[in-house]
Symmetry: C2
Subunit: 416 residues, 2 copies
């Protein structure tokens, strides 16, 4: 079955807010096995909203509209949808009571008459209670089409979807979509795709879709099947083949595991701690490791050493090295990593030193040149990178490459 999303709100068209609802609903619908081929955004405008609803009803089975259910005259989603279906609105006493109760609960002295507009419900619609606001959700079914209206605020739409809409949609499905994620590092997007071009051509069920992330490639393997077992039977050989081709470069097959999460897990398994010494990335590498809840088990402290003085004092990089090779050099990166491991008493250390730009580049050492040092149990090595982005991107890539480098070294240790 197909689902289509229409987000209603002038604030979206003006770019005042980012459409996180669409991403949330898309993800949830995909997980429920619904195919979403269209999403659109329209403003609080009767004519354009009517057109959008009509078009969506022509091409999709299920339509989810979000936003425009509030108390103001601007809010038209319910009125427009009811009109398209030729339904009258009536005052739903259950919803009116809930609105009254809501205002009692928040001790609000701001109950303006326009709030009762939210108790108006199209004939035949199923009402979805809103526990975090006043506008209820609504489900209309007519001529084999289903239209679901939900309010715009994320803190209202998310609990309503989880509690009422998801079970409702699940009950509607004849066949499901099942997918598996394969996350790959240490290989670029083009190369990864070349490595599976034949599979992508040959496969129709399951399909393989690549997604490029900074320093990573994600492959989504998606099967249509009558049930979980059939899906498993379809997906398993493709997964085996991907493992044969990408091997250790696959860092996870779990949707929610990040590269830094996989590394924190590896460190925990090896009972190792890690530290960081950063120059041009200035804390971003540490910050990314600490995105992982529970990273404190493996990460205790870290150093940001922009100046040469800090590199000497905090990490023990020798002045000779700094003078002979410069702060941005393989040698300095190695000494930074070794020094950080020593200072923090950590089993592993990553260092980053480079020229993020826009200034600071020379002919020999251009903007984008970055060295990453990695010290694992006393063994230190460094890698040289040339990034071609702006300052932000160069730093982001440096962080991604540093994490990948650490992972490679940890995998080597594991295999010993």
């Amino acid at each position: 079955m197909t689902v289509e999303l229409i987000s209603v709100g002038t604030e979206l068209l003006l770019g005042n807010i980012v459409n996180t609802n669409a991403a949330y609903l898309s993800q949830k619908c995909a997980a429920l096995g619904l195919s979403c081929y269209h999403q659109s955004v329209v403003g609080d405008n009767e004519e354009r909203l009517t057109e959008a609803v009509r078009l969506a009803l022509q091409r999709s089975d299920i339509l989810i509209l979000s936003g425009g259910l509030g108390p103001t005259k601007d809010d038209l989603t319910k009125e427009v949808t009811a009109k398209v279906f030729g339904k009258e609105l009536y005052e739903d006493s259950h919803t009116k009571e809930r609105i009254e109760e809501y205002f009692r609960r928040v001790h609000s002295d701001q109950v303006t008459p326009n709030n009762w507009k939210q108790a108006q419900v199209p004939q035949g619609a199923k009402v979805i209670d809103n526990h975090n606001g006043t506008a209820p959700g609504l489900i209309l079914e007519e001529n084999g089409k289903t239209v679901i209206l939900l309010p715009g605020p994320p803190n209202e739409i998310v609990p309503m979807f989880e509690r009422d809409v998801a079970p409702y949609l699940n009950g509607m499905q004849p066949e499901g979509i099942y997918s598996k994620m394969v996350k790959i590092c240490s290989i670029g997007e083009s190369k990864a795709e070349t490595m599976i071009a034949d599979l992508m051509d040959a496969q129709t069920n399951p399909t393989i879709a690549p997604y490029a992330k900074t320093g990573e490639v994600h492959l989504r393997v998606t099967a249509k099947a009558a049930g979980g077992e059939e899906a498993e039977r379809l997906i398993a050989p493709v997964m085996d083949e991907l493992f044969r081709r990408f091997g250790d470069n696959i860092y996870t097959t779990e949707e929610e595991v990040t590269l830094e999460g996989a590394i924190v897990n590896l460190l925990k398994e090896e009972k190792m701690t890690v530290t960081t010494a950063e120059s041009c990335t200035g804390g971003l590498l540490a910050g990314r490791i600490m995105n992982v809840a529970g990273a404190s088990d493996v990460y205790r402290e870290g150093y940001i050493t922009y100046s040469n003085d800090a590199k000497e004092r905090l990490l023990g990089v020798s002045r000779d090295t700094l003078e002979e090779y410069g702060a941005v050099s393989r040698q300095t990166a190695c000494e930074m990593a070794e020094g950080a491991a020593r200072a923090a008493g950590a089993d592993a250390a990553l260092s980053v030193t480079g020229i993020a730009g826009p200034g600071g580049g020379t002919k020999d050492k251009p903007v984008g040149l970055v060295y990453v040092g990695c010290c694992v149990k006393g063994q230190t090595c460094a890698k040289e990178f040339y990034f071609t982005g702006n300052r932000d991107k160069n730093r982001e890539f440096a962080v991604a490459r540093a994490l990948t480098f650490l992972r490679e070294e940890l995998i080597k240790i594991r295999k010993r």
Copy 2:
């Protein structure tokens, strides 16, 4: 003139990524005086993409497509658009050279043949160079309609829009749109909006539009005018009024100046250096300061001190303090800031200690409790915050509040 956005990518339909490009482009188009009534998202599918382009061309003057310009077979945006316009593709030698140069620059051994697909350009199209990637942007004009194709990655689309697309769109307009940005910190969104509600109601030219950012509010003052002088005459009194109302809380009126950039400038003006000592934010605060090109003038080194041991050893926080008040306390925050200033020999220091979540909260110290310490020229104080987001959001807010806190203290010094 009307503009319509089509975002291309299955990853958007699956909810794998949030459509930040649409928000960015909407905001920029609004600032250029273009009316955006429709946005849509379609996958990398020839038929549906063709339909979407055809529909958009019927109802809008300008069409901006983003995504689907990459090297893979999935990437169809250019091919589909060329077909709709009946244009052949040819290999653009300028673009091919740029791609070759790009790969030489990144010393990549991963130049796979599919990359040359990106040098294919529709006849008559204007090429927009991509300085941060390999896929160029393209502008097609035909029968009074303009179609602009841009790559999907934000770090590519943003600079291309700023440098080439915005001036191009501005040149198409009969009347000019002029806007000024006012960036405010230390005041919440609701309060800021209440403070200018009367102005927002009264103003039609220029208009004032508020945008909420994490810990900041941005106001865009936009005038329609025949020329720069007339625009200046319209905008100036509104700017004066905003300065009267928000005073020092306006940290910049420059589009491209960030809060951290304004702070680095303040520090430079005062000839002061700054350092950071971070627990729960784990490097993100330092990372944000170092977003600023040239931050090395004011920032030499910083500390990530997750463990109590690191807080004692690197920052000299006293064991008594940690035992009596705990690591997450006003007292510890103050000692961290003082210790960091001392250890780095810096004039100012910010510290952050808190419980980002999801674990680690207690009844007395719940998830979201964060203390920020600020030491400026030996004077130290701390602030307590209760954030209500998830781990990521709590850390992001903590960083924003810490920067705002430092700015407030620097402004005080300035006024002495």
